[in-house]
Symmetry: C2
Subunit: 257 residues, 2 copies
Amino acid sequence: MSDAKIRLYVDQPLGQGQPVPLTQDQAHYLFGVMRLGPGAGVLVFNGRDGEWRADVAEVGKRGGTLVCAAQTAPLRLPPDLWLMFAPIKKARTDFIVEKAAEMGAARILPVQTRFTNSERIRQDRLQAHAVEAAEQCGGTFVPEVADLVPLDRLLDRWPADRRIMWCDETLLGARAGLLEGAGQGPARGFEEEPKRPSPGPWAILIGPEGGFAEAEQERLRRMPQVVPVSLGPRILRADTAAVAALALWQSVLGDWV
Amino acid sequence: MSDAKIRLYVDQPLGQGQPVPLTQDQAHYLFGVMRLGPGAGVLVFNGRDGEWRADVAEVGKRGGTLVCAAQTAPLRLPPDLWLMFAPIKKARTDFIVEKAAEMGAARILPVQTRFTNSERIRQDRLQAHAVEAAEQCGGTFVPEVADLVPLDRLLDRWPADRRIMWCDETLLGARAGLLEGAGQGPARGFEEEPKRPSPGPWAILIGPEGGFAEAEQERLRRMPQVVPVSLGPRILRADTAAVAALALWQSVLGDWV
């Protein structure tokens, strides 16, 4: 019954007739905040079994149970695209994670660069933002938010087959005119990539506010996996650049195609 | 002198030797907050005369004067692209304006649709966000933020030559699969538009949270200027959709090309 507008991410396996026990927080949200009663419908997903309509079977103050009634959508995985970015101010970092989940990144990797201010991140809080974004955007998948890792260490063991779309704000701000003059518009390199069915593994790398250090730039330029991409003639904030880069990638190589 | 990292939007005309009187707020920022003294350099722009290095000539508590020393960048106008969106919650509306300025929209039009919650906006506050974004992103142009206007009234007198890239979240969420199945990926229509030198006048239209009303959708579908565009299989929040749509447009038709 009901038109089941609420979407809830759960940990449990989902399947026909499968009971889904609720945590205290989930019970509080469904019964305390949203005032659902027995029989009310909710949409649930766990990132593995697609989306299911589940009905409230048991209402409790500290818990409760849903029971899966019918699958409403299959699991839909995003393309194999990672987003690497240098954490910035709290609100804008939260925003990047939210947007990356909405835009269909498969994995989110906060990276520490020479010019990154943050020493640590609240991985659990960022993961919760990714869950909330998936609940909102109708996704059936939740990207994993990794712990903060130094960019250098990540590049040390970088997979040979995973390309990197490198968006360096400093580079872009300074070189956009030049690139344009040379007829090297944005995404020139990566538009020549094979199109569907699979673009293969990719990652987007967004720089920190101060741009990348000279040594980092040189290292990236030497890596055969790296494709430098211009995001236009204006200097974008890191959070803007993240969404813009994801849009560019998805529209050229990803699941917008 | 100095490397003039501060960028300031001013109203006054700029030119060689031109004195620029400061408002109380500007003086407070430059002398109180940033602690600049006589001779210090600032970058100024007014949206008309490009960017100039100006030196502090006079320091006051309630004012002061800069004098233009040299032009550091010519005026660079964005493409003739408007962004129309239905205002949402305060923080996300602020965000859309900031991002639109960064991404190079020429004009920002908050519109009232049937499903828009807002009855009014703080135009002055939003305009200030656009100014701040231009200061940050190195732009020499500040998009005008218009007052809230009903979408219907705007469409009543819509210019025959201005195309509308229409991003309807409801439509997209529901039809993305269909469109894909029919081989109608995003931006199909508008990739066939003439490329450089000028894409002509365009506008992007982003829907409100509840999508467009049936009557609005029908009206838009009947307009020859309208090009419906899909932003992928996930439902995007309005603020995400705004940045994504701007990135798509700029990379296909705009000044990222």
